[in-house]
Amino acid sequence: MTTPAISVKGLIKRFGEVEVLHGIDLEIPQGQVSCMIGPSGSGKSTLLRCMAFLEEATEGLIYINGEPLGFAPGPQGKPVRLPAARIRAVRSQIGMVFQQFNLWPHMTALGNVSEALKTVHGVRKSEAEERAMLQLKKVGLAERAGHYPSQLSGGQQQRVAIARALALEPKIMLFDEPTSSLDPELTGEVLNVMRSLAADGMTMVVVSHEIGFAASVGQQIAFLEQGRLVFAGPPRDVFNKPRHPRLDQFLDTYLDRGAAMLA
């Protein structure tokens, strides 16, 4: 047994009084694509953001390649916060891609991708840009290196955002609905980049409403509903009939929505 890339243990997340994750246990296997699906508001983003330490768990622990993220079990069982340097070190194994791209508008594509190399890792500008250029090539945007985000299409921006995360050579990539704010004709280019990343053996966790992508590329599907993990398993178990009644319901409404958009 190898250590899972991510393991989530008893994760509870409350925003004030409201509990949105009610005790999640989940393991993300190494080198695979895990997709999280579920209705809106089920807590997919919150779970993913906890894995990136953008949200702190109210209770429970998260391990990245066996190392505790943010909090470690303390002497009395109560989690203790780890020192900032330790948190940063564990966190650096993770790359995150957002629905809204979140590129920095005052930097070119190359600037966005090379920023952390220069500022955080003290890599010389020329070398940082060389390395950034390699990543931009990987997402097919080498010739757009000098463009500002406002001069790029949504699909191109998202590919730059992927390159930005890849530049730090993370072991795990998290994607929160990476194609949801893109026009349909632009989703393909982003999904293709993600497919080739998966083919290279990157460990990926993808929150997506692209059921087709989840079914074809995903090696593990996790289905969330109302803050609970209903089940997780390989796509053939999940999507083939007979299906879990809750998933059936979800897919029905999902497909209905798609049909409604077509009509």
Binding site: L54, R88, R91, S92, M96, F101, N102, L103, H106, A116
Partner: protein
């Protein structure tokens, strides 16, 4: 009434000195106010409640009282609490603190306008807080706070005239003195207005020029 151009020529050297004092108090006052205002905005944002609340109170008091009275209190009331300052340092300090209250509000709004996702993206690639402020927040908010900041700088320029009440030898003091000595009120006030207006016009233009230069950084709408 005759407009006496000879008079104007004869008082030129004195005017130039006064003009210099106005420019210097204004320039250093704005720089000081921007720096202090920025520190206040950062303190209020990241310092927790125990820093936010007192700073909020200071800002509200300063914004809620006339500059004239603050300056009076500082210059004439200061010695009673052991702060005895010469006119120019007192004027500079007063202008800095007064301007800082307004600049801090401008910057606070600027911080709030930076999309949280841009900050999260920076956290995710490992930037720490000072790096995020320096590399992401300041550049992103510059474009947003520029118009209000230029406005504030212009207001501070006009407020330098108030420094005359604590005998800072700036334009307003010197020109009114000349006016009363030479019985040439209209000429001197006309000149004074011209000076201020010229400066305001100039700084407004500078501000717009910078806005144009920075406009390529405008936010993507997604």
């Amino acid at each position: 009434m005759n407009f006496d151009t000879n008079l104007i020529v004869s008082i030129m050297p004195e005017l130039a000195r006064a003009f210099g004092v106005t420019l210097l108090t204004w320039g250093f006052g704005v720089i000081g106010a921007v720096i202090l205002g920025f520190m206040v905005a950062v303190g209020r944002r990241y310092g927790g409640a125990w820093l936010n609340y007192p700073l909020w109170l200071c800002v509200e008091v300063i914004r809620g009282t006339p500059f004239l009275i603050q300056l009076f209190l500082l210059y004439y009331g200061g010695p009673f609490v052991g702060i005895s300052l010469d006119p120019i340092p007192a004027g500079l300090l007063g202008l800095t603190v007064y301007g800082a209250a307004y600049f801090s509000e401008i910057f606070r709004a600027g911080f709030e306008a930076v999309p949280p996702g841009h900050v999260e993206a920076a956290e995710c690639v490992g930037l720490n807080r000072p790096q995020i402020i320096r590399r992401i927040m300041i550049p992103e908010m510059t474009m947003l706070v520029l118009p209000a900041s230029v406005n504030m700088a212009i207001i501070l320029l006009k407020e330098t005239a108030v420094l005359s009440i604590i005998t800072v030898p700036e334009l307003t003091l010197v020109i009114s003195a000349i006016g009363s000595q030479q019985y040439a009120f209209v000429e001197s006030l006309f000149l004074l207005a011209l000076f201020y207006w010229g400066l305001v016009e100039l700084s407004g233009r500078l501000g717009r020029f910078m806005e144009v230069r920075l406009s390529k950084y405008r936010f993507v709408t997604t």
